[in-house]
């Protein structure tokens, strides 16, 4: 039974990876989930310098999901490169570094800095809804997406994944722009901008007022967008958004995703990623599927 998938020349032992921001660099979860069993670990976003993130409260639970407004707190590329990358290199998994920035220069600085590091791919976060500059500002305009993608591609030593925002009118337009800019792979969806009001305190549940919604309630939106994008571009897709179980992951694969990222599920079950890897294999056995690649995008 073949579970490996190929993303822009990078062979993953299986299609299951972590969603950026939910898993740190894997240090805390390694106690519960064997990182060697994952297709890849996608790190929390890292910028050129340390970022303090947003005030608290940074998370709120909503029905069937959660809102977060962490604000891309990160220790900066120097500490990340000396601490987090060597940690992950101890494991037999691929390393995908999520890159964030407030300006094109910030993104490029991190991308160039990573050129000599032993990481497998870069995921460019142009879709974070929780920071005032950068993030989603780059990701809601097709011309901006094509421009930043091309600029990153020119400097990147590793294959480039562009992570797209669902907070747009037509995601296929954004996906095509990233493809035109030279993106090797697309990740979707980032979180959906939401809001929760605390009726007892009569104020916002999050200090940032708005936050990114994730969790099982967003999954149908994410599956629909992956399906649309899979039919609009020819580069591979990493699907994510509310994947809690292997069944959820398989929906994304059947809709056209080559790989999947598991995020919020880690908070409810610290070994959710491993359960999903095992569940996909169980499904393949039950359905007599010899190669997982036979499942990608077969629902038309």
């Amino acid at each position: 039974m073949k579970t490996s998938v190929n993303l822009a020349g990078v062979e993953l032992k299986n299609p299951v990876m972590t969603a950026s921001g939910t898993f740190g660099s894997g240090m805390e979860y390694a106690e519960f989930a064997d990182l060697n069993k994952l297709g890849a670990v996608v790190t929390k976003g890292v910028a050129n310098v340390p970022w303090p993130g947003n005030p608290t409260p940074r998370v709120a639970e909503v029905y069937g999901g959660m809102l977060n407004a962490i604000g891309l707190q990160n220790p900066g590329i120097d500490v990340f490169a000396s601490r987090d990358i060597p940690f992950l290199r101890q494991y037999d998994t691929k390393i995908i570094v999520n890159v964030c920035g407030k300006s094109e220069k910030d993104y490029l600085e991190v991308v160039e800095r990573l050129a000599d590091e032993p990481v497998d791919m870069l995921e460019i976060n142009i879709s974070c809804p929780n920071v005032k500059e950068g993030g989603i500002a780059f990701g809601q305009n097709a011309a901006n997406i094509e421009h930043i993608t091309a600029a990153v591609k020119k400097k990147a030593a590793q294959p480039v994944i562009m992570k797209l925002s669902p907070n747009v009118t037509d995601i296929t337009e954004m996906a095509k722009a990233a493809e035109a800019g030279g993106a090797d792979v697309l990740s979707l969806i980032n979180t959906i901008t939401g809001m929760k009001i605390d009726i007892n305190r009569q104020t916002f549940a999050l200090a940032n007022k708005t936050g990114g919604m994730s969790g099982p309630a967003v999954k149908p939106v994410a599956v629909r967008m992956v399906y649309q994008v899979a039919n609009a571009v020819s580069i591979p897709i990493i699907g994510m958004g509310g994947i809690m179980t292997a069944e959820d992951a398989l929906e994304f694969i059947l809709a056209g995703a080559t790989a999947v990222s598991v995020g919020t599920a880690n908070f409810c079950n610290p070994h959710a990623t491993i359960d999903i890897v095992n569940g996909i294999e169980d499904y393949m056995r039950a359905k007599n599927v010899n190669d997982i690649n036979e499942l990608i995008g077969i629902v038309k």
Binding site: G24, E31, T56, V59, Y63, M66, I70, G76, F267, C268
Partner: protein, 255 residues
């Protein structure tokens, strides 16, 4: 070492208005816990995704006791569990109170509201002279009789219906409570006042903080507090309450 376990509810009682007392039989969590640590309790209702962090009130061999307030639908669900219920918990989480900080000293243990429960396990483990100060909303008290076994107990209440009318600091001043080191858990305004009181009086203080959490193990960076210095993990003025705390030296954090 943390453990991801299916545990069994041994007993549950409502001990005060909306305050529940649950004993849980665990595999390894109880035996490995130290005073001041907490557990994550997962709801069975799958529409609620995030575990509820609840402080450990007491341990006894493989059994662990939590005393918690119904604060929303998740804790409401927990309050309905009967003996034999299987529940998903993760722990022990965070760092406890530094017992060595009280060696040869007189300790003041301060609990406010639902911050009182961890003081029981701490009182049991601190081998020194102890003053215990607790603050309630009103005379509907809990754990006071158990705490009394371990030290001189002083009570404050918001409405004045029992003990000193006012805050725990009002009670400490009114009753002349003296000590060399403070251990405290309670709402942020109380901890802020204790940090100030400790600084004014040159007393070492260890305070247990709380914040909205998601992962509970230090990965998601939801539950940060402001740190006085640049933290060596975050590289900014943020510490993770779930992982670097919940207990901090009061001088390490800004409230």
């Amino acid at each position: 070492m943390k453990f991801d376990e299916t545990a069994t509810v041994v007993s549950q009682n409502e001990i005060s208005d909306g305050i529940y007392d649950m004993w849980i039989d665990t595999g390894n969590i109880a035996a490995n816990a130290v005073p001041g640590q907490f557990i994550s309790v997962y709801t069975k209702d799958a529409s609620k995704l995030l575990p509820r962090p609840i402080s450990i009130c007491e341990t006894d061999g493989s059994r662990l006791r939590i005393v918690y307030r119904i604060a929303g639908k998740g804790t409401k669900e927990f309050s309905g569990y009967a003996q034999g219920e299987q529940i998903h918990i993760l722990g022990p989480l965070g760092n406890g109170f530094p017992l060595e900080a009280a060696a040869g000293k007189k300790a003041i243990l301060i609990g406010g509201g639902i911050g009182i429960p961890p003081m029981l396990e701490l009182a049991k483990h601190l081998d020194c002279d102890k003053e215990i100060v607790v603050g309630y909303r009103n005379s509907d008290t809990f754990l006071d009789k158990e705490l009394q076994q371990y030290g001189n107990l002083t009570i404050a209440s918001d409405d004045g219906s029992i003990g000193t009318h006012g805050t725990v600091i009002d009670a400490i001043k009114a009753c002349g409570v003296k000590g060399d080191v403070i251990f405290a858990c309670g709402p942020t305004p109380m901890l802020r006042a204790i940090k100030q009181y400790a600084a004014d009086n040159g007393i070492e203080a260890w305070i247990s903080l709380e914040e909205r959490m998601a992962c509970g193990i230090g990965a998601c960076l939801a539950c940060v507090c402001k740190s006085t210095d640049v933290d060596s993990h975050s590289m900014v003025h943020n510490k993770r309450i779930c992982k670097d705390g919940p207990v901090f030296n009061a001088t390490e954090v800004e409230l």
